[in-house]
């Protein structure tokens, strides 16, 4: 059985490996190992060494108003701010707030779409981090009628 600790170790090793393999992406530092353990937004920003984010129109978040099934909530994040190196998808009331982190390289657009699980009605955040450590976000409340983390 693989514990969370092992997983963090192996993913950190992989991140190091990737950093070596991807010189073009190296301006985006490897994601802090503890980031996926953060239980609250404040914990997360602390573990990433980030300042308090600023709400910005340069970040867009597209998500449904009401998600009938919390197991599959389509989320689209995008940013038009210059110098964005990383985008995060956060769900405030999930057991761990950080859901996904995308590295933005010059070769791709700062726009990503995926599907996330939500345990309950919560604010969803799109966060854009720039090379000079400015942090912008957009948020939206998504109402969940059927949670996606039940057993």
């Amino acid at each position: 059985m693989s514990t969370r600790r092992d997983m963090i170790k192996s993913s950190a090793a992989l991140a190091g490996l990737l950093a070596g393999l991807l010189p073009g992406l190296s301006q985006a530092e490897a994601l802090a190992k503890t980031a996926f353990d953060a239980k609250t937004l404040d914990d997360l920003y602390k573990s990433l060494g980030l300042s308090k984010p600023v709400e910005s129109k340069e970040v867009t978040l597209t998500a449904p108003d009401i998600a009938e099934n919390g197991a599959v909530v389509p989320v689209k994040v995008a940013s038009s701010a210059p110098g964005v190196v990383r985008m995060l998808v956060l769900v405030e009331k999930n057991p761990s707030v950080l859901t996904a982190s995308f590295d933005v390289s010059p070769a791709i657009e700062a726009a990503f779409q995926t599907r996330v699980k939500m345990g309950q009605t919560s604010n969803v955040y799109a966060v854009a981090i720039t090379a000079d450590k400015k942090v912008y976000f957009a948020q939206k409340e998504v109402k969940v009628t059927l949670g996606g983390c039940g057993g």
Partner: protein, 103 residues
């Protein structure tokens, strides 16, 4: 070996739009089975993509990405006939690489 990904890469307005559907349980490690035992976490942690062998995209995921994850992103430039390759690695060390040709 896990099931293959479904990848669609399409040239659109001088860019390549890549859509990927991966086959993965994405178990959170929080759920319990019928006997009350915790089902261990099993989810994709890293996703990377290359265009004609050059790395262009990387992402780190937690367990809260949905089962059988969907991913869409856009590569600047590129043309039909280019090769887009996607790789994922999960927290148990499994990995899968699939390649698609840009249409």
């Amino acid at each position: 070996m896990a099931d293959p990904m479904r990848i669609r890469a399409q040239a659109l307005n001088g860019n390549i739009v890549v859509k990927v559907l991966m086959q993965h349980e994405m178990e959170t490690g929080l759920r319990k089975d019928a006997n009350g035992k915790v089902i261990p976490a099993w989810h994709i942690t890293d996703v990377t993509a290359t265009l004609n062998g050059n790395p262009v995209f990387s992402a780190q995921w937690g367990p809260a990405v949905s089962k059988n994850p969907f991913l869409e992103f856009t590569i600047k430039g590129g043309k039909a006939g280019d090769k887009v390759s996607i790789q994922w690695v999960d927290n148990q060390g499994n990995k899968r690489v699939d390649e698609a040709t840009v249409a």
